[in-house]
Amino acid sequence: GESVGLHLPTLSVQEGDNSIINCAYSNSASDYFIWYKQESGKGPQFIIDIRSNMDKRQGQRVTVLLNKTVKHLSLQIAATQPGDSAVYFCATREAGTALIFGKGTTLSVSS
């Protein structure tokens, strides 16, 4: 079955640095990918998504990169701020099926 995982459970960066959070998925039929941010005690909050017909998508301070060849997804956060401290989840979906979440990376930003 589908499994989604992240390479590192924790990532610590300095304020102003760029952060890269990685995710690997197993199902080559996955066609939709999404990053969520979860702050303590809150529900997951949408950051950015990308479909399988793209390899890069940019938002405000965030970029998602998709490499379907190696089934790898990454989230880049530019000029990381203390408010970016949270747990980040990648999630994938094969058309018509449920969104499956990875384990999460805790991003800690120190000023």
């Binding site: 979860q38 529900g43 949408f46 998504d49 479909r51 999630a91 979906r93 058309a95 999460g104």
Partner: protein
């Protein structure tokens, strides 16, 4: 901004009791979901619901669980005869479209089973 609302925010119950968690999805959304998150672990899919019926469910969603849309606004998750391992955060989500619609999550209901 429209949001998904969940009640209660925290419920404590005794093992073996029945629990109902309530959700009000975003009003124009058609697809509804329940996920759970055991403390410190990943968010796990339980069930999706569309057109008044379950469209997909995970292995976790066994006969102990049921969902219902009793009226035009609420979406409920019932857990019969709760077990200690049911203690978790339960998140409701909704989306306007599927398969590529973004899921909007509520703040969650924390269930503690003693």
């Amino acid at each position: 901004e429209p949001e998904v609302t969940q009640t209660p925010s925290h419920q404590v119950t005794q093992m073996g009791q029945e629990v109902i968690l309530r959700c009000v999805p975003i009003s124009n959304h058609l697809y509804f979901y329940w996920y759970r998150q055991i403390l410190g672990q990943k968010v796990e899919f339980l069930v999706s619901f569309y057109n008044n019926e379950i469209s997909e469910k995970s292995e976790i969603f066994d006969d102990q669980f049921s969902v219902e849309r009793p009226d035009g606004s609420n979406f409920t998750l019932k857990i019969r005869s709760t077990k200690l391992e049911d203690s978790a955060m339960y998140f409701c989500a909704s989306s306007e479209t599927r398969p590529t619609g973004e899921l909007f999550f509520g703040e969650g209901s924390r269930l503690t089973v003693l």
